[in-house]
């Protein structure tokens, strides 16, 4: 398989179509191609958790992370999301990129519990942060991801929640490593916000999967 350079991966991901009318309550926004490329490149080159592996993308939206994984040689990717409109865009992206090893499922991550235990080698996700009447959703996504993954979970969480996550990780007996600190600029959510976008500090974290105690 031809080795893809970081810049090439990022260029490809810039072709991924994203949300036409993002739904605020679902915290929909595309993972920026630059961030997605850097994340996936690290996961692939430093940890070898993508090539020929089975990968789940929780809250996949339009599929940025899944598509990037497929381009880096993933064995099989499954994207999961609650929103049919996002999945429709994901589907057309898959056709445009001519990918044959990416599937998607429409479901509610919060009601999966442990039905897909140990079903994937790796979980890669950019979960909702819990800022829209859905507090705690980031931890539900994380717990579910840890149950699904055999080897590792790669996820993005607000830096302000780092200590809370460290506590939970210790409780669940999983190793946690902050791989990078990023800055997201998210589009303004409410009409009365003066700034066009807001900067949020975000941690890119690797969790080693282990049996999560119920």
């Amino acid at each position: 398989m031809k080795k893809l350079k970081l810049k090439e991966l990022e260029s490809c991901l810039q072709q991924v179509d994203t949300f036409e009318s993002p739904k605020l309550l679902l915290e929909q926004y595309p993972t920026r191609p630059h961030i997605a490329a850097c994340m996936l490149y690290t996961i692939h080159n430093t940890f070898d958790d993508i090539e020929n592996k089975t990968i789940a993308d929780l809250g996949c939206g339009c599929g940025m992370l899944s598509i990037g994984s497929a381009m880096l040689g993933a064995g099989f990717c499954v994207g999961l999301d609650i929103d049919a409109d996002a999945l429709e865009i994901f589907n057309s992206n898959i056709e445009d990129f001519e990918l044959t090893n990416v599937n998607m499922v429409q479901c509610d991550i919060c009601s999966l519990s442990d039905s897909m235990s140990d079903s994937f080698d790796t979980v890669i996700m950019n979960p909702p942060f819990g800022t829209k009447h859905n507090k705690g959703i980031d931890m539900i996504f994380l717990k579910t991801a840890l149950q699904m993954a055999k080897t590792a979970v790669y996820s993005l969480h607000k830096t302000s929640t780092r200590q809370h996550i460290q506590k939970k990780a210790a409780e669940w007996e999983v190793k946690m490593e902050v791989l990078a600190e990023l800055r997201f600029d998210l589009p303004a959510s409410y009409k009365f916000h003066k700034k066009k976008s807001v900067d949020i500090e975000v941690d890119f974290i690797r969790f080693s999967a282990k049996k999560v105690l119920n």
């Binding site: 499954v78 609650i82 589907n91 599937n103 499922v105 429409q106 479901c107 509610d108 079903s119």
Partner: protein
């Protein structure tokens, strides 16, 4: 939806017995070309492995439904995407 994906899915209709809701019955209308159980020594059977690979990874269900074996609830598959969401009344 590939068969490999279908293997992961189960029904979350409330009130099922533990371990229930799996496997979901695929409803389409054409029979599979594979026997219901692999025969012993299947790992060495090149022809069988080829057909297994084809069914697991190369066949895509585009339209159809998945039926919960316990509750009978049907989950639709459209444009290759299975929809496992329950309605507000069901959840």
């Amino acid at each position: 939806m590939k068969l490999l994906t279908h293997n992961l899915l189960s029904s979350h209709v409330p009130g099922l017995r533990p371990g229930g809701g799996f496997p979901l019955r695929i409803e389409l209308g054409h029979p599979s070309e594979l026997p219901p159980e692999p025969s012993p020594g299947y790992e060495a059977d090149e022809e069988f492995l080829r057909r297994l690979h084809h069914v697991l990874l190369e066949v895509e269900v585009l339209e159809g439904s998945l039926q919960c074996p316990d509750s009978g609830r049907r989950f639709p598959i459209s444009r290759g995407v299975p929809n496992l969401l329950l309605t507000e009344d069901e959840a």
